[in-house]
Symmetry: C2
Subunit: 202 residues, 2 copies
């Protein structure tokens, strides 16, 4: 049994991840206080450092959060771009950058990207660009992770649980179940793979 920190456990992707991590000791973390075992803001180095110190021993970090702003490219402001970059890109990189100091030997990080970098949609250019950054980051940084630490990203299409909210804007997309996405997280955490983008698409 591993001790896993799951950041964003109450979101749709977080709940999906949880379905694949059930046999482990899962410590939940998230932005709002009260709903999680620990409170954390991934855009803050100090907040991440406090989380890792407070938890103590852990074998894996699964991140299921990353704020994106949505707009037509011609209308998207630099502020909207930077909000997305600070959270979904730099925030996730910081989860690993700070976390690698504290995680157990042979531990693992699993980040989240999203299918829009390979299946583009209107309004989603910042989401797509930062997903491409995260998938690239994972593929390249794996070679220099110390102490046997692994890193992968899960790149899912839209989840069935999000279809009612987003399906109208995603013509021709086939949603997948949260349980299937959970298996991708399980494969990252309980497998031996590293530097992999685990696509979950239909």
């Amino acid at each position: 049994m591993k001790t896993i920190i799951l950041i964003g456990a109450n979101g749709i992707v977080g709940k999906a991840a949880l379905t694949g991590l059930g046999k482990h000791n899962v410590i939940t973390a998230g932005r709002s206080t009260g709903n999680y075992d620990y409170q954390v803001d991934i855009t803050s180095e100090e907040s991440l450092r406090k989380l890792y110190k407070d938890v103590g021993h852990f074998d894996a970090v699964v991140n299921a959060v990353g704020v994106c702003e949505y707009a037509n490219f011609t209308e998207m402001t630099e502020k909207q771009w930077m909000n997305t970059i600070q959270s979904k890109m730099m925030g996730q990189i910081n989860v690993v950058r700070i976390g690698q100091e504290y995680i157990a030997d042979n531990g693992s990080f699993t980040l989240i990207s999203g299918i829009l970098n390979v299946k583009p949609l209107p309004y989603a250019i910042a989401d797509a660009t930062t997903s491409g950054a995260i998938d690239t980051f994972v593929k390249c940084v794996a070679f220099e992770m110390p102490r046997g630490i692994r890193i992968n990203s899960v790149n899912p299409t839209v989840l069935e649980e999000a279809w009612e909210a987003h399906g109208e804007l995603m013509p021709g997309f086939q949603p997948v179940s949260g349980t299937l996405v959970g298996k991708a997280f399980e494969r990252s955490v309980d497998g031996f793979i590293t530097g992999q983008v685990i696509f979950v698409d239909a």
Copy 2:
């Protein structure tokens, strides 16, 4: 004959680009004053807007600059990451974001990435990650560019002209000539392709 703004004309990649753009009216721009027709800092929205307004009519923008910081991942600071993101990623996105307001109908943007996102090397994780972001950006944003505007990126391996400076850190890499890289820029500017990553590798 097209009017082309070449940002970073005096760098190694800029000089390579110039070899492919010789038949056009090339207006040069760069960070230092005196060496270029226009001075511009791509990390500043105001500086880019001034450049485009001052030039007036132009048919293409070729960007050959993007500052990257290099370090081992475990030692790279958030500041080093953000310096790289602000220039090579957000800076290049801003070249397009602001430029699309001013560029002529059926114009084109050509950005620069770099082979390290598909051939990783030590110290280059921020370079690789932002190159992956730029390649993804170009592939996805092409679908929503207005007025027939095209966009591509050139993703070269190390240039012969840079081999003396960087070759020692790039075992097993085969440098390519600046002239060959120039042809990639020419293919982007004078072709009809859009949303393409033009790899130049040997």
